[in-house]
Amino acid sequence: MGTAVFRDAWLIAGKDLRVEMRSRVGLNQIVPFAVTVLVLFAFALDTDQEALRTYAPGLFWVTVLLAALLAIGRSFAVDLADGASDRLLLSGIDPIAVFGGKALAVAVQLVVLEVLLGAGVVLLFDVTVHRYGLLVCAGLAAAAGVATAGTLYGALVAGLGVSETLLPVLLLPVVAPVLIGATRAFQDAFGVAGAEGWAWLGLLAGFAAIYGVFGALSYGALLEEA
């Protein structure tokens, strides 16, 4: 099974990313959406520069999560639109590969988003980066965590007819640890609070690993519709 799973995961990820490239939802819309949300926060926080700098990491991650909801929702909407999800079930592709492929595609999109949005935060909220290594590792680990948990929950709600609204409700509480961990790690990296960044990074990596394994294992059961 070894290589076949990787080959199939790759196939699925490639398909998902290609669909995204074609529809250009990511670049043209999710990124501007994320930037706009950042701006909204600035308004909501009463444009208090000091507060903004302090809360920049938290706001960054809330924004990433909200954008991730869109990306995950689309990843499944595309399959459901005209019954491709049924056909994936019938294709004989190992569910682990489907899970891995979809999670990979989401993670790639999230990383791109984080890079662009991160640049926005550094400029708009006037923060300075102290520890680049931590920043990059935390960004990758958090993306992996959100992507794995998101793919699992995306599959859970897929086909229930109202997934675009159900997904946030289920997923957001679950990824709260990612939000907290990534926020702390970034606070450390930005030097705004003396959090133990690397410890929090451990949490993020653990989260991603757990959801990766759990997702891969339970995906088959999830997909086995009806």
């Binding site: 501007p32 930037v35 706009t36 701006v39 520069q49 400029l123 708009l124």
Partner: protein, 270 residues
């Protein structure tokens, strides 16, 4: 520019494969020359911004003040671009011709470029003068950002592969709403006087030196020439794109007609 990518298919079918003409060449050289003069004026003639306070301290923006000659004209050009988009959109909704649609699209794109330039130069300028890249408390900065975002959204709609007429009509409505931002940005410093670090209208209140004022006016003139030059090119690019589209349609039309004929002769219709 996109002229390069479009030229091959354009020449193939005999449309002029360039967006330049005598007028644009003149405008181009004028821009370059004007820019050279502007640089000279800004660095050699305009003195650096210093004032001596009563205590004898030297304060001011020093060399940073020279950023004004990029920042302020950019802002004006962004207004111009979006304003033109507004007018062209109105005209489109009235007459429904592609010409106005292309005009709206072209000027919005240029507006966004200069809008971003305003934000960037403003930020750079803010670093030495306000000690911050970005100040959320400043209404002008924030409203300017919103304005640019609205038009980025506008361009996002324009880029969607949808029926041309649908897209044109919908983006025209977005532009109408979006253009309100020009007024808001322009008046923001006066409406929210106490909530801004940003300069209020210093320009015509004659609070600045004559050299600075002259150079600034000169930079407006250069900016306008630059704008005209860019707009001509961008509009012609849009026009060429539409021509290519037209040709593609013609090609597809011929193929489709052949399909019809082939079916007539080849296939037995029950």
């Amino acid at each position: 520019m996109s002229t390069a990518t479009t030229s091959s298919s354009a020449t193939r079918v005999g449309v002029p494969a360039t967006t330049s003409s005598r007028a644009t060449k003149v405008l181009g050289w004028l821009t370059l020359a004007g820019f050279a003069v502007l640089v000279a004026l800004a660095f050699a003639w305009v003195p650096e911004d210093t004032r001596i306070t009563e205590q004898g301290d030297v304060v001011g923006q020093f060399d940073a003040v020279r950023l004004m000659f990029v920042h302020v004209p950019s802002a004006i050009l962004a207004y111009t671009g979006f304003g033109l988009t507004f007018l062209a959109s109105l005209a489109y909704l009235r007459w429904r011709t592609d010409w106005w649609d292309m005009m709206a699209h072209s000027s919005a794109e240029i507006g966004v470029v200069f809008g971003v330039l305003t934000l960037v130069t403003g930020s750079i300028w803010g670093r030495p003068t306000w000690q911050t890249w970005w100040e959320w408390g400043d209404v002008r900065q924030v409203t300017a950002l919103v304005m640019v975002l609205v038009f980025i959204g506008y361009l996002a709609v324009r880029r969607i592969p949808a029926e041309a007429a649908v897209k044109a009509r919908r983006s025209a409505v977005i532009a109408l709403v979006g253009a309100v931002n020009i007024v808001i940005v322009n008046r923001s410093v006066d409406w929210w006087e106490n909530r801004t670090l940003h300069q209020q209208s210093t320009l015509f209140a004659r609070k600045i030196r004559d050299e600075t004022l002259f150079t600034l006016s000169f930079s407006f003139a250069v900016g306008m020439v630059l704008f005209a030059w860019l707009l001509l090119h961008r509009f012609r690019t849009a026009y060429l794109e539409s021509q290519i589209e037209e040709l593609e349609v013609q090609e597809a039309l011929e193929e489709r007609r052949a399909e019809a004929d082939g079916a007539d002769h080849g296939r037995e219709q029950p």
